[in-house]
């Protein structure tokens, strides 16, 4: 359980996190979404007691991080993948963490095996690829078998195989009843992993909602219809107050009535339907819509899904 209340942090005159309140409960994967620079990493550092908030409070299992008796047994965090001394081996890095919290040294080899780094355990971390560093960071997160886990952009630098592996890992941790808080600027990634999302923009909370509710809420939800009698159907739908758009491929996008209402209307005309497919707006679009006003660094063109491109800073 992670609880933030009125969390505020500024660096000089720049407000990084602004009156942020949310709670992350155990047993589900909670996504932490926001454009780059929206305060996700800062928030995670405050949870970990690394940065001190200027106002507000954040607790892990009801206590401040500083007051935890055995921090690594209680909380595991992947904050940044490359935060490992390049001259130190993977095993030595984990060993020094284990020793600080009286974790049995055999656990070091266990977590190395879990993340698939056993064969390079003795190699210096400086030679690791970003993906391998991420895996080492995840190994460190699992080291103390913690109840609460935090992952800041865990799939960065991973290949498709690695990404799938992280997704399953996160879901598995949640299934075991742990608290899983994972940040991403990629809505599409969250759609596949998270059960619930905390969305922030410019350091402020935009929404904390279950992911399917986010989709359902989105005004971009529509139904795609194909029919030989599309003109008649279009007219009937518009008379009923629906917004329709005739797409270039000949299909009709209908906003307003759901697929049941459209099907019944078609039957009453009657018009033959070739396709009647409810479309969720992509999560990316839903996310865009929510954070539209809060994107800090607009690219030259913001019409596309800028947020899904890795390079945006």
């Amino acid at each position: 359980m992670i609880e933030a209340k009125g969390l505020t942090k500024h660096y000089g005159p720049k407000l990084a996190v602004d009156q942020l309140s949310f709670s992350v409960r155990p047993g589900v994967v909670t996504g932490f979404l926001g454009p780059n620079g929206s305060g996700k990493s800062t928030t995670m550092r405050m949870i970990m007691g690394l940065d001190a908030p200027n106002a507000g409070d954040v607790t892990v299992n009801g206590r401040h991080y500083h007051d935890l008796a055995w921090p690594l047994h209680e909380v595991g965090a992947l904050l940044e993948a490359k935060a490992i001394h390049p001259g130190r081996s993977a095993r030595a890095h984990l060993r020094m963490l284990a020793e600080a919290n009286h974790i049995a040294l055999r656990r070091v080899d266990e977590v190395l095996a879990i993340v698939g780094l056993s064969s390079v355990a003795g190699q210096r971390a400086g030679k690791f690829s970003l993906g391998m560093s991420q895996r080492l960071g995840i190994a460190a997160t699992l080291l103390g078998d913690p109840e609460v886990t935090l992952f800041d952009e865990p799939v960065n630098g991973l290949d498709p195989d690695g990404i799938r592996w992280v997704r399953n890992l996160l879901k598995g941790l949640a299934r075991e009843g742990r608290t899983v808080f994972v940040s991403s600027h990629l809505m599409s990634e969250m759609a596949l992993t998270a059960d619930e999302v905390v969305i922030i923009g410019r350091g402020r909370l935009i929404a904390q909602i279950p992911i399917d509710e986010l989709l359902a809420q989105s005004s971009q939800r529509y139904v795609r219809v194909r029919s030989p009698g599309i003109a008649a159907l279009k007219a009937a739908l518009e008379r009923g107050g629906a917004a329709t758009v005739l797409e270039e491929d000949g299909s009709l996008s209908v906003r307003g009535p759901d697929e049941i209402a459209i099907g019944e209307l078609a039957a009453s005309i009657p018009v033959v339907l070739h396709e009647l497919a409810p479309q969720s707006a992509s999560l990316e679009e839903a996310f865009m819509e929510l954070t539209e006003d809060s994107i800090e660094y607009h690219g030259a063109s913001t019409t596309g899904s800028v947020l899904s491109s890795e390079g945006v800073k």
Binding site: V28, M48, D51, A69, P71, G87, M96, A100
Partner: protein, 272 residues
């Protein structure tokens, strides 16, 4: 929620503390090749320079004037490598802390042990002990090798000679304290380049500036400078404007403690 792990987890009794952190810091220190190299260079260079200086003296002994022969201090000459060793020990003291900031490991360290002053205590203890052992190896081996190289007819001493043991053991302590001062500086400054510059500046540049002051003032200040304290420790002839060897080491210890305390306060105040 299906709490199979989570809330039912058994934690070890008590709380994480200094014993775990000491082991952790020891692992950190010996798991870096750069540490081992720096320590090795300190020992080899320190002993090597001492050997060179004493061998040189021995070679020119017959051509030295009577005055030079009389004022020759075989003990301090054989310990000259200590003043080279202080540079590498200092760099190591800086790296032990700044390396964590440079690589970001400091955040992993503070995640494992959020009580930051305790981490600093463990780090200073482990590094201080390792530095002391390396430094004593340098000073004792330098001394024995130097005295052996000097030999008759050149003046030489034994550990039993008045003040010799103090000079040899003291110079090891001096090196260790210089290393701890560097660790303290690095805790305050956090950046490797900045901390090494500050360290070398205090050790090598500030004395030059002080010497440019009016002599009476310079003499008063100079005795408190680290390099001057070191010179007084290795020398058997006490200078007029020097602190007594042990007094000097206590002052130097005070510098190290002050720097570490300031560093510790900043560790707590600043974001990691």
């Amino acid at each position: 929620m299906s709490g199979t792990v989570g809330t039912t987890k058994d934690l070890p009794p008590g709380r994480y503390g200094i014993s775990g952190l000491l082991r952790s810091e020891w692992t950190k220190l010996r798991s870096l090749r750069s540490t081992m190299w720096t320590l090795g260079i300190t020992v080899v260079l320190g002993i090597g320079i001492s050997a060179l200086a004493t061998a040189e003296t021995r070679a020119h002994w017959s051509s030295m004037s009577i005055g030079d022969r009389l004022s020759f201090d075989p003990t301090s000459t054989s310990l000259i490598g200590v003043f080279v060793g202080q540079l590498t020990i200092g760099v190591l003291g800086v790296l032990v802390m700044s390396g964590e900031y440079g690589s970001g490991t400091i955040r992993a360290t503070f995640s494992a042990a959020p009580r930051r002053p305790l981490v600093l205590v463990a780090k200073a203890a482990v590094f201080g002990l390792v530095a002391l052992v390396a430094a004593e190896i340098v000073s004792f081996l330098s001394y024995f090798l130097g005295q052996a190289l000097l030999g008759a007819p050149a003046t030489h001493t034994t550990l039993g000679s008045p003040g010799a043991l103090r000079a040899v053991a003291g110079s090891g302590i001096y090196l260790c304290l210089i290393g701890l001062c560097a660790l303290g500086l690095a805790t305050i400054i956090r950046h490797t380049a900045g901390a090494i510059s500050a360290f070398l500046g205090i050790l090598l540049v500030v004395p030059i500036i002080v010497r440019a002051l009016p002599t009476s003032l310079a003499n008063e200040i100079e005795r408190f400078m680290p390099d001057h304290i070191g010179a007084a420790v290795v020398s058997l002839h006490m200078g007029q404007y020097s602190l007594a060897p042990w007094t000097g080491l206590v002052v130097l210890c005070g510098y190290a403690v002050a720097l570490l305390v300031i560093g510790g306060v900043l560790l707590v105040r600043r974001d990691a």
